[in-house]
Subunit: 368 residues, 4 copies
């Protein structure tokens, strides 16, 4: 069961509310003797941190992570790693407005119907603040995967405006505030986002995450398929409404010939594919090709434009949300998507090792 835990062998359990004293997680199953310190985790948190540009929420959180267990003299010990971040900017304010109201697009009503109680301050448990712990745990997952596996993400669409794939440059991703790989698109998005904010509106987005260097054989048929677990991992991020692997929905419109990833032998005895419509996964198992996934994030539900809603007493009300909000929550979802992909891969790496102690670490053929 996995109410608040993610993964099986590399297992993360998170806790904490947006405006409680702290948020944290426990990472269980990490292999021993990996070098690990706060400095390995903090840079990833800093990328997700609020308040860093004009295009994200202005809540100020240093998001300073502390390791409370599982590391001894700079090395993991194989015992659970507890991480904690104290909440700083729990801005004291009047919650009267949202205390009883069910904001459209938020979890308010759903939590109320499920539990009959909810911590309404800043969204409580349903706040995207929880994703900080995913990013922190994801940094440890990268350690487990090792230096040969590279996981990167980029925003490939904001609102209805997609990047030009011919203009893709990974170097551009770090140069703008949107993790956009297309410099021209980044300039257009800047204008679009300022306009949306000004009009009290918000924008959705599509994010692409890519893992390179993933060994073949990760994933477990039938109900532990790598792509199925990636789908769950990404769909579980706040505000995500769609997930696709490789060619994704576009595959439905291709013919069988066009969609086939043809194979040839490389000089090093590995299989070389002529294309990657599959997104690196066949039959739920990694093939050694890059894992490519995309997910769609809906526009931020917290907007200044009033919307019709109800409150917990059954009264009809109008809701508009003032305050510090991301006009496009997709922007800060990029490092979260990368982290979730890292978590799935680290978990599957351990699962694969368990059943295949003599597993090959390459796509070299033939085995015998």
């Amino acid at each position: 069961m996995s109410h608040n835990s993610f993964g099986h062998l590399f297992r993360v359990t998170t806790w904490g509310e947006s405006h409680g004293p702290a948020i944290g997680c426990v990472v269980d199953g990490c292999p021993p003797r990996l070098a690990l310190g706060e400095a390995d985790i903090q840079p990833f948190l800093d990328r997700r941190r609020p308040g860093q540009s004009a295009f994200v929420t202005q809540r100020q959180e240093p998001d300073q992570v502390r390791i409370l267990s599982g590391v001894f003299e700079g090395l993991t010990t194989g015992t659970p790693i507890a991480l904690v971040i104290e909440n700083q900017d729990q801005r004291s304010r009047d919650y009267g407005e949202i205390k009883d109201r069910f904001r459209p697009g938020h979890a308010d009503l759903a939590y109320e119907l499920k539990y009959g109680i909810r911590d309404y301050r800043g969204g409580g448990r349903s706040s995207a603040r929880e994703t900080a712990m995913r990013v922190a745990a994801g940094a440890i997952a990268r350690k487990v995967l090792g230096p040969d596996v590279t996981i990167r993400g980029a925003l490939v669409q904001m609102g209805g405006d997609a990047v030009d794939r011919a203009a893709w440059d990974w170097a551009a991703v770090g140069e703008n505030d949107f993790s956009c790989p297309d410099r021209a698109a980044a300039r257009r998005w800047e204008q679009a986002l300022l306009a949306a904010r000004k009009s009290g509106s918000s924008l959705g987005a599509v994010i692409e995450v890519v893992a390179e260097g993933v060994p073949p054989g990760l994933g477990a048929p039938i109900y532990g398929k790598l792509d199925a677990e990636i789908a769950a991992a990404l769909m579980g991020i706040n505000a995500v409404k769609g997930v696709e692997i490789g060619e994704g929905f576009a595959a439905a419109a291709l013919t069988g010939e066009a969609n086939a990833d043809e194979m040839r032998m490389g000089a090093d005895g590995r299989v070389v594919f002529g294309s990657n419509h599959a997104g690196g996964v066949l039959g739920g198992i990694s093939t050694g090709q890059p894992i490519v996934a995309r997910f769609a994030v809906k526009p931020t539900s917290s907007i200044l434009t009033p919307r019709q809603a109800v409150d917990r007493h059954g009264r009809e009300v109008d809701v508009l949300t003032k305050g510090r909000h991301d006009p496009c929550v997709g922007i800060r979802a990029v490092p979260v998507g990368e982290a979730m992909l890292a978590l799935v891969l680290a978990d599957h790496l351990l699962r694969h090792r368990a059943q295949n102690p003599d597993a090959p670490d390459s796509a070299r053929l033939p085995r015998n």
Copy 2:
């Protein structure tokens, strides 16, 4: 861990290969005292059964299910329900062609890299034949959900040709060979599919599944979200490359105002929504609105047009697949998608009951 099991409290474990003596599953966690017999399961299997029209594989399998345990005098006993279907049409033939070859788009290479061995006959474990057991288990899940929950599916796109939603008629779904809710589209698809088959090609598809009457409160934050588990369930179906909930990828292009599902109070004290962009799920929890999900199926990989590939000895070969294959595997995926949705919902219904023994069965407000 869930290599071959699906679900947590309502848990299905499947086994069997395409050309082995039989396939089967064990359904564990089914509540006691539900009326259940083979006749409750067979109709769903018959819908997925091969050989029923010119548009699906001609393999002849009666797919007659037998219940071997867990039912006593017509009622479930709370103990595991074992189901088995014997494989009949294991057509004796020469597997020499595919024995050593890795067919593009198939799991052949991935299984070889993972396990170093595979049952190549008809795809072995990776064959979609396994989905018969999902459909069978899904029929039991429907019993658990009860008569107030309705789960239906339809093919909404074949190749690049989508249905006209204005022409949607659920009654049409049962009238054509494609589960198509738009009669005009069904006629077009018939031509397209015959043309694809004739040219040795194949087509992809998009399927929509809808669950109505689902009680609110199902789903568990943060890592047991209802939409995340639906995403995994659908992505885990053979050949699926994308999954979306409610507005899905289209949500990325909407503004916050346009995407908001506004709420009013109904006469019966329930919340009434003005739209369903969310697809029935907020914060990972059902709201009482219909659950709406779609998934994209790639075109059948087994085609008559030769494609470049390699074999297990590292030799470069050309592969083309003769024999009995679905020109559009999406068609038979409709009942499978329905079944997976039923399985997720039944599992979450039990999980919800566990934590909320006094859970309300309606969206009526206020609770207190």
Copy 3:
């Protein structure tokens, strides 16, 4: 969740009732490329099989196992292995006597209170017949553990009469009908058992199981301790009321000095212990010493002497059980205990490999 599944990475799910058409199990997570056939499993089933001596039930069951999946050309494929045994001797008879009655010491009342329904024929799901599948799965677990791990069991006490440990001879175990390692005790037990049967009574027993050659490092603190999982595995066998590891309950009466297992270095660089009070487990982790566990089986509840009971209508009745029953169920529990120990060890071997890919396979020191 584990209603009817045992283990995590090497996972067994059983199904079936005593008088249903068949019993079976699914073994998931078995590593690929192990040689496996029915002939590897059948000998263990034959040891547990009823009707083989005057001292066990006369029910006649050939208990012929069939492998339905997961094995291809004599090798495991890494996919789930389905095993099935058809029930033969479902002796047609009048169940009127036990249909409504709750037999003392049996699960009748408990199932009724839990489920409100039960398959009363031969005890249904609660019958020890289910343990045949544990023995079958245990045979596969032995394959996973490999030839260096030896698992044996012996009856060390029948009724109040314990073996003389000075007279212990493993060779004797196979020579008598009780798996007794002390030839003199075996002769005494024969008389005791005949007397108990004659008087319509029954006897309890204590069984010891020992695993030698177990690599160090198996087991996972804090809640996956090897001894804790062995305890659950053995306590879960029908009629078991107590479990102990190493010195067990007797440890409570020892002083700290007497209970210490002192260590010296062996010529081969391995740690040599002067004693094994710990039973091969420290801190929940194997040390390389033999794993030693014992479990107590209560006297058979089905006896000819009438006992007071009630029926499902709340009427007070007397119950006595005629028919085919083991006068000492402990005898046939020996292979079941061995199987459970094998299942725990195989599961932990896989779990250990997952977290420790470079795990040493010996107790040799120092590591660095």
Copy 4:
């Protein structure tokens, strides 16, 4: 998987080392709207706390628990409850003596063989300090079970000296430093323990835990049996070597007639048992009778008498342990045993509800 998690639906994950900055746990799956505050947990921690009498370790730890999440305005919210206790008395000292040495009876060697690294300070993760979090989580489990369920424990044997059951008085348990229900035995134990300490030795113990008011129907055949999970829960406590339910090992020496718990109907329509050899569990399911379990704790391994050992460099050394240690660790294991029993029962209560939404809350017959 459950390396550091306990339970399935009521799930506790602990973290922390003896001499790290803090220890903590996450309790997931707690039903919403239960009144909960630190004051509900602290009294149980105070009973387990070190330094409270001359008979336990003199380490001074206030063990002040803090709730960091999952509780809002005094009520649980259904989201994960994080608990933390800061370590205070991490006495600065020279660990040179135990840094490299493997103390007999401790987990030192086993951790080294498994992980190749260990936090040796105070035993690190293997220290019984971790059990403080079990006690804390157990306090929440009691809330889930409600006021009708009473869970109590007592020390029933110290060294070889058992209590006189005829002299049992629950009131006596709180009056002495040993949780001893027999006042005369308590006086004898005081002398024995002082003598053991004086001679640099230590004593073992047997603890009995009893749960009254447990509803029938808890437990899940075949591999989630209530008694099997109690066995694992108790065997997993530090230093425990044996577990028994009801009559336990003594059942092996009883005849079938003597061991039968006969049944009559009570005036209130419930089944009344004439005895409780079964310890409240039949077929792995609670019957409504008191749940009775016992566990044996070995004598403290840390003693002043030197014992032969080895170090991590493979050198033979003598080990004796100075410092603050419990001369009988069984004493402080009493509240831990109670907590583990509470955790198992709370988990099974939720599991039972899931599968049996209309479960009866009494043993009243007949159901229909």
